[in-house]
Amino acid sequence: MKAQETYSNLFKNYREVLRLSAARALDGARDTAFARFEALGLPTGKNEDYRYCDLLPALEVDYGLNLFRMGIPAHPGEVFRCDVPTLSTRLFFVVNDLYYPNKKPIELPEGVVFGSLNEQLKAHPECLERYYNALCSQSQDAMAALNTAMVQDGFVLYIPAGVQVEQPLQLVQMFQGDIDIMATRRLLVVLEEGASAQLIVCDHAMSTAKYFSNQVSEIFLGKGARLEYYEMEMTHDKVTRVSNTYISQAADSDLLMNNIGLENGLTRNNVELIFQEAGAKADLSGLSLLSRQQLSDNHVVVNHKAGGCNSNQTFKYVMDGAARGVFGGKVLVQPGAQQTVALQSNANLCTSKEARMHAMPQLEIYADDVTCSHGSATGQIDENALFYMRQRGLSEEEARMFLKFAFAGDIVERISLKPLQARVRMLIGKRFRGELSKCAECNICP
């Protein structure tokens, strides 16, 4: 297989280059990961998990990779004007897969480690090395293995025990450059016992070349830690995003995760969450707005290894054109994980005849004292509601927009950061009016 060979050769030919300036932990994980990548092979349509999400066409593109870490003349802080009004976030930037240090020093509470993953792994091996790749190394996903083999930098946020970071943090990941580019992106987030933070990660594409982002995020929540983690994608039809997110939650920790896909090409989000100890809670939700040939595939596995934990998955898709949505949600309740509460729901709105939804909700339960539910429904625009609204003078287009907006509303309401919620609401309105994809030069700033 051509793509498989390309990436295998790439690794072998550049193994020594990848060693240059890489932190010990980063380089130490490569060879095992590469062996796993070769054993697993790139996912194809034959792979059950990737049945509706064929990555091969995107992987066969001849991308440029920045293995020599050439600096791009980018000034992300100046280009990126898309901050959330009334929400002053601490901004961090990754351009393609290069971390851009801030010009102005950013002050966070004492002991918080943040910034370039590679640099901080060198500077603070004592607190970071035990977390790096600890979850991803257990994964059976070939793209995650490829990421570990190739990754050269990324973003890290480490919050020591008991520290509350009050101000929201925002990581802006953007693609820039006129050639087709593949970026290997990595995120490590560790909240020690009792720590808390809010992190927004948004993906953008500054020009219209073909881009491929292969991302791995590892998130560790210590006892009683609380994280609000928001992901937003505002790219375009020629962007492929494969993201593997691994989450480990200790006792009584609390996670709110919300993924909003406004514009994309092909997106595959894998989320694997493990409840390690009792009393933890996770609220995972997602909203994908899809048009034309866009595809969004969310695969979520919630592993209730410990009892007494509470998980809630709510994923919604709004599709028009020939878009496709895929949802694979799995709840696994391990033997002995009693008093588990696991809810899962998936609702989809197909507003055109060609739009397709594939939903695969699954429950695997090996304990007997649990509350679990799952449900999936796919429907069309309510014609009666449409007529009712038109009878009051709204155009059909406006009425449809109201109805789509209403459908998406409860996911937006789950964003507990109010200024971000308002911003997302505004962006969704623009998205439904087709205004987000109109601007070719800058598709992030309306």
Partner: protein, 252 residues
């Protein structure tokens, strides 16, 4: 020029013809009642006039203020001043009454070449019109019709009618599901909105609504046609005797 002129209207849903050559003329200031047994085509008439996409007009003409009504999309009919109070108002979860009405009012204003209302002007209008039908502020802040009782839904219809200030209103069984107090409130609302420049068509089975909203012209619709037209006295006669005598009179 009549306000509304319906000539030989035939309309079908699927293969089934419901309206079979209906004629009706309405002028400004008039209140018409349309009565008739179940299945005679009363609700079909209101759906066809307001442009429901499920119905096909196979023959005939309809002019509204001299313009060809059948050529207009549903929303343009609304903006021209045609309003339907639905027999079964639709619940629209997630769409707030306030946002919905603001969009509707501003679409009507745009159509007339007027600037949109700003937030405070709009809220003032809402307050004023809400009072007409004693609609609770809480309801106005909820999703459209969601969780409203039957009576609240009908009150909400008349509230919307007041907001949009139509020239011709069709009330399709607005009395169904109303208790005596709600019936009075709704009817008083309709009467307050009515002016000599406007007209109203009341579709109902019962006299009690017509005692409040007094029609000057009463029609009986039967098997897709208007088969009898008379003054208000016909209401009492129908209430007392039912429809059989009309059917006999017509030789059915």
């Amino acid at each position: 020029m009549h306000l509304l002129e319906i000539k030989n209207l035939h309309a079908s849903i699927g293969d089934k013809e419901i309206l079979k050559g209906l004629n009706l003329t309405i002028d400004e200031g008039e209140i018409h009642a349309i009565m008739g047994p179940n299945g005679s085509g009363k609700s079909t008439l209101s759906a066809v006039l307001t442009g429901h996409p499920a119905y096909t007009v196979t023959e005939g003409e309809v002019y509204f203020k001299g313009k060809n009504l059948l050529e207009m999309p549903a929303e343009v009919r609304s903006r021209e001043g045609l309003f339907l109070s639905f027999q079964y108002p639709v619940e629209i979860p997630g769409v707030s009454m306030v946002n919905f009405m603001r969009a509707a009012v501003n679409e009507h204003r745009k159509y007339r070449g007027e600037a949109p209302l700003n937030a405070s002007e709009f809220l003032k209008l809402m307050r004023e019109k809400r009072a007409l039908v004693e609609l609770d502020n809480k309801l106005a802040n909820r999703s459209v019709n969601e969780g409203f009782s039957g009576g609240e839904k009908k009150r909400n219809e008349i509230f919307q009618m007041a907001m949009l200030d139509p020239v011709l209103s069709i009330l399709d069984e607005t009395d169904s599901g109303l208790d005596i107090d709600a019936l009075r409130i709704v009817s008083e609302g309709v009467n307050k909105i009515h002016t000599p420049q406007k007209a109203c068509v009341v579709i109902t089975h019962y006299q009690r609504l017509l005692d409040y909203i007094k029609p000057s012209i009463v029609h009986v619709l039967y098997q897709g046609k208007i088969v009898k037209t008379a003054g208000f006295e016909l209401v009492g006669e129908l209430e007392a005797k039912g429809y059989d005598w009309i059917k006999q009179e017509l030789g059915y």
